[in-house]
């Protein structure tokens, strides 16, 4: 129960930050990616702002075996750069630049995003359903 409570609080804070920062506005995201157009640096400030408290949190996490609610802390980050990571990120970026939405803002804006927002979320979920076999295939091919 307490886990769900803190998960909801964290999700709510995440949604608040996305809304205040303007990251649910697709023109700001596309504006940031549009290096050859009217470049909008807002996203860099959002990223920088988000990384600061998170970096402090990782320092605290490194000193603990378990989280406050008792679960194991995430393991050390992997160092393997596979084809799945590169190809997947590239595909994600292509879609991100096309519409200006990534998964967090797509969910945060769902109540006011209209039909377009609902269609985007549905298509994104369809893509997520299709991904595991494709990822397995990429991993198999790159291991061979």
């Amino acid at each position: 129960m307490r886990r769900n409570l803190f998960a909801a609080a964290s999700g709510a804070l995440f949604g608040l930050g996305l809304t205040i920062s303007g990251m649910t506005d697709t023109t700001k995201v596309i504006g940031w990616l549009d290096v050859f157009g009217a470049w909008d640096p807002t996203l860099a400030f959002v990223m920088g702002g988000a990384i600061l408290p998170m970096a402090v949190a990782w320092r605290f996490a490194a000193r603990r075996e378990r989280s406050v609610l008792g679960s194991a802390m995430p393991s050390k980050p992997g160092t393997h750069i596979g084809h799945d990571l590169i190809l997947g990120s590239f595909l994600f970026g292509a879609g991100w630049g096309l519409a200006g939405l990534c998964p967090g803002p797509a969910m945060a804006s769902i109540t006011y995003g209209g039909i377009g927002g609902a269609v985007f979320l549905a298509a994104m979920i369809a893509g997520m359903v299709m991904a595991p076999p494709i990822r397995a295939r990429i991993d198999k091919l790159s291991a061979a």
């Binding site: 920088g48 519409a99 803002p105």
Partner: protein, 157 residues
């Protein structure tokens, strides 16, 4: 793009931009606090695509309640706050074909790469993860190329 307005218009434009940066930084700090809370309390990495993806492909069944709670909070607060601060507009393109293609690419790509802007970006870069940094470089490159092709070459969207 050339700004054709007079000096006053240009000055107000600059002012507007500065507020955007400040709001961006404040919003960013709140996003970082959300990730910090999820990590230190629940011991989990705040990655939007992973939290949703684990629900839709069944890999996250063991902690579905935690995932659903996170998403409920993520949807509920913007529902209240966005209209209050005049942010309840995504300005998403009206072309549904583009929206479908973009959604599919985002869903596929984030789950193949194992993360998106929050997981690989915010949470990965802040612990200097090589995978997070690499993923971020490639989705920014992919996004940049996408914008160049669709905005500047094809003139669409």
């Amino acid at each position: 793009m050339q700004n054709e307005g007079d000096g006053a218009l240009r000055a107000s434009g600059v002012e507007f931009m500065q507020t955007d940066w400040i709001m961006g930084a404040i919003g960013g700090l709140i996003i970082g606090c959300a990730g910090a809370l999820f990590l230190l309390m629940n011991g989990r990495i705040m990655g939007a695509s992973g939290i949703l993806g684990g629900l839709v492909d069944g890999s996250g069944r063991a902690n579905a309640g935690e995932r659903l709670s996170f998403i409920a909070g993520l949807v509920a607060l913007p529902m209240i706050v966005a209209p209050l601060i005049g942010r309840a507009d995504t300005h998403l393109t009206g072309s549904l074909g583009v929206v479908v293609a973009a959604g599919l690419l985002v869903g596929l790509g984030t789950r193949i790469a194992g993360g998106c802007t929050s997981g690989h970006g915010v949470c990965g870069i802040s612990r200097l993860s090589v995978r997070g940094l690499t993923a971020t470089a490639f989705y920014i490159i992919g996004g940049g190329i996408s914008v160049v092709i669709f905005r500047h070459v094809l003139g669409a969207v």
